[in-house]
């Protein structure tokens, strides 16, 4: 008994000495990335990871991030959330325990919403680059904005309205139809706003059809849509599923216009679609062909590093890191609460995806662009301002 007590005391002493030996402050800042590297939308995860590594490399190559008069190197901790809600929450938990200062991601709303709950409860600042569903930054219980959750993208309340206005004014739709994934927050949220906006303008949605994530056969729903005499079809779904939906719509003889949302904005869509998506429009965050000088510099650096044009996820991830770096510098210390306060204090940020204004919530106010698929490329069509 006595021996055991001595042993414990010895251990305690040893650990005290060891901890005293550790340097007082860390030389690096750890930042977590929670991305969809595998699962249904792996290209989103890859873009996010690429842009994160680029943003960090640029800072580190320039000598590090200066915080409170001292330069720090940035260290990335990348976790795969498998594009699953539960894994996204687990990854957020893991990053929080690993001692990251802040977390970038997840990207898809279905993952960002559960991860945001974790970030909020442990008090870890989180910026979702690409999540557009309002619930990401809103506390479900109180209806108040979450304190630690921010995003770089506009929200679906805005995007749905932009898409609906475009359908009315440019596509002149009289008999619109929607097919959306009812099990995915993003798709569901935007589909509902689209429908509401059209109906407020006196246009009835003739078919409002659903499916579940992972479905491959939409022929039943598409046949219903065709049977309802729809003249336009809104597909606010992820790039991995849209080509199938478009192809199957053509297979049963649907000839109306097809419209999409920012989840289309991935070149993978075109390689899966072939020529079937030619001429269709979608709303998104930025257009590489009308880039500002800042955006051009980013596009050039990204192309040099990865050999391809950055998509919207990459651009938004890069902006998320820009926001975070600015906040860390403004905070002046490596502390989650201080970084959170500094993020909340940012009112205007000039990003590569345009100017973002923050008005006391984690949601930026920014404009949307509408792109058209032309000759296998995304081409700028018009801008919609808030």
């Amino acid at each position: 008994m006595r021996r055991a007590a001595t042993f414990v005391l010895l251990l305690l002493g040893l650990s005290l000495i060891l901890s005293a030996c550790r340097p007082a402050a860390p030389q690096t800042i750890k930042i977590g990335v929670n991305a969809e590297l595998t699962g249904g939308i792996p290209v989103v995860g890859e873009s996010c990871k690429n842009a994160a590594q680029l943003a960090v490399k640029q800072i580190n190559d320039a000598g590090g991030l200066e915080v409170g008069g001292k330069k720090y190197q940035i260290e990335l901790v990348i976790e795969d959330n498998e594009d699953k809600a539960e894994s996204a929450a687990a990854a957020a938990q893991k990053l929080a325990t690993a001692g990251v200062l802040a977390m970038i991601g997840p990207n898809a709303s279905r993952n960002a919403i559960p991860a945001a709950e974790v970030a909020e409860s442990v008090g870890m600042p989180m910026i979702s680059p690409w999540s557009t569903n309002p619930k990401t930054t809103i506390d479900a219980k109180t209806g108040q904005p979450k304190k630690f959750v921010f995003r770089a993208a506009f929200i679906d309340d805005f995007q749905g309205v932009v898409a609906a206005r475009f359908a009315m004014e440019q596509l002149k739709t009289q008999r619109p139809a929607v097919l959306y994934d009812v099990a995915s927050e993003y798709n569901k949220g935007i589909a509902e706003v689209y429908k509401r906006t059209l109906e407020q303008n006196g246009i009835q949605v003739v078919a409002f059809e659903t499916y579940t994530t992972g479905d491959k056969d939409f022929s039943a729903q598409l046949t219903k849509i065709k049977d309802a005499g729809a003249d336009s079809l809104f597909l606010p779904n992820y790039y991995s599923e849209v080509p199938l939906q478009v192809q199957q719509a053509h297979k049963i003889g649907f000839t109306g216009a097809i419209l999409g949302s920012d989840s289309w904005g991935n070149l993978e869509l075109i390689s899966l679609c072939g020529t079937e998506c030619e001429g269709y429009f979608f709303t998104t965050h930025y257009a590489p062909d009308i880039a500002t000088p800042k955006a051009q510099a980013f596009i050039k650096a990204y192309e040099a590093a990865y050999g391809k044009t950055p998509d919207d996820v990459a651009a938004l991830t890069y902006d998320s890191f820009g926001l975070l770096f600015q906040a860390i510098q403004a905070a002046g210390k490596i502390d989650r609460q201080a970084v959170r306060d500094a993020l909340a204090a940012i009112t205007l940020y000039e990003g590569v995806t345009g100017n973002m204004q923050f008005k006391g919530t984690g949601d930026p106010i920014k404009s949307a662009v509408i792109l058209q698929i032309k000759n296998g490329k995304f081409v700028y069509f018009t801008t919609a301002n808030p």
Partner: protein, 302 residues
């Protein structure tokens, strides 16, 4: 009216694929009374074999006739998948043949997980969804208000042909007779000079090559990804049980029933009820007719 004809065509297309995969479940169950839960993933591997072969073939012979491309892809996928299934049977199932049945089922689940994760980790495949290159040109034919695509016709006709062929093999050939003999009494069959191991391997090969036909046809119409075998495997399994597991015609019937459930549920109900309807059907059947629609009740000998 056209609306319903169109939906029936959609259901036949989906049902054909389920029926082809259900056959693999039912054949293995018939002969080993074991549920091969890796079968859905074997189906997934077959679509990738079709994907890689057809991509390669079209790159080398870019102006080959569609018939040649289609048939060669089908044969390569069938052969490769059969080989894989025999290998799995030899490595993972045969050593467990005398072990409790549950061991083999758990092993099968493990093999399925192995195949899925291997494909995700295997660089040329990866997690991204893909389309097969067009094996046959897509042409839409319109009759009245009903549109049928060439791919839909090929899926339905080829499936029917393969099912007819299999039915003939099982009912009219020596091999088929050996299979039925083993499934009837696996202790007496070897005494009659039936090479049990070889017939079991052949059953796996046959079931897998039929799944490969399903896989190639499926790949022509839908995107493929390493996790696709899970859901389709489950639906095909339900098809086999609904039709009467162990019964070949039952599996075909079950496949088409599930195809109709898949298409007609969203016609009358919200699409989210689809799995609910399918699994309710399974439950009801298990309560009132546990041997399935065409399965005959078997008295357990004590």
């Amino acid at each position: 009216m056209e609306f319903y004809i169109q939906q029936v065509l959609n259901a036949l297309q989906v049902g054909s694929v389920y029926a082809l995969i259900a056959l693999g479940y039912t054949m293995v169950y018939g002969i080993l009374t074991m549920i091969n839960f890796a079968h859905g993933d074997i189906f997934m591997v077959s679509t990738y074999l079709a994907f890689f072969f057809s991509t390669f073939f079209l790159a080398v012979f870019s102006n080959a006739s569609p018939l040649l491309v289609f048939v060669s892809t089908l044969l390569v996928a069938m052969f490769g998948t059969a080989l894989l299934a025999v290998l799995i049977e030899r490595v993972a199932y045969k050593p467990l043949r005398t072990a409790p049945r549950i061991s083999a089922v758990i092993t099968a689940l493990g093999v399925g997980l192995f195949l899925e994760n291997f494909m995700v980790a295997f660089k040329p495949v990866g997690p991204a969804p893909r389309f097969l290159p067009p094996l046959i040109p897509q042409i839409n034919y319109t009759f009245g208000g009903v549109t049928v695509s060439s791919i839909q016709i090929v899926i339905i006709v080829v499936s029917a042909l393969v099912m007819f062929l299999l039915d003939t093999i099982v009912r009219r050939t020596m091999v088929g007779m050996a299979m039925r003999a083993i499934s009837w009494d696996k202790f007496t069959a070897p005494l009659m000079g039936i090479p049990v191991d070889r017939v079991i391997s052949l059953t796996f090969a046959l079931g897998a090559s039929i799944a490969a036909v399903g896989g190639t046809l499926y790949g022509m119409a839908y995107t493929i990804d390493p996790y696709m075998g899970i859901r389709i495997g489950w639906w095909a399994f339900i098809s086999a049980v609904v039709g009467g597991i162990g019964n070949i015609r039952g599996a075909m019937l079950g496949g088409f029933i599930l195809g109709f459930v898949e298409i007609f549920t969203p016609v009358f109900l919200p699409s989210t009820y689809r799995d609910f309807v399918a699994f309710s059907l399974l439950l009801l059947l298990l309560i009132f007719r546990p041997t399935g629609i065409l399965g005959r009740p078997v008295a357990q000998k004590v």
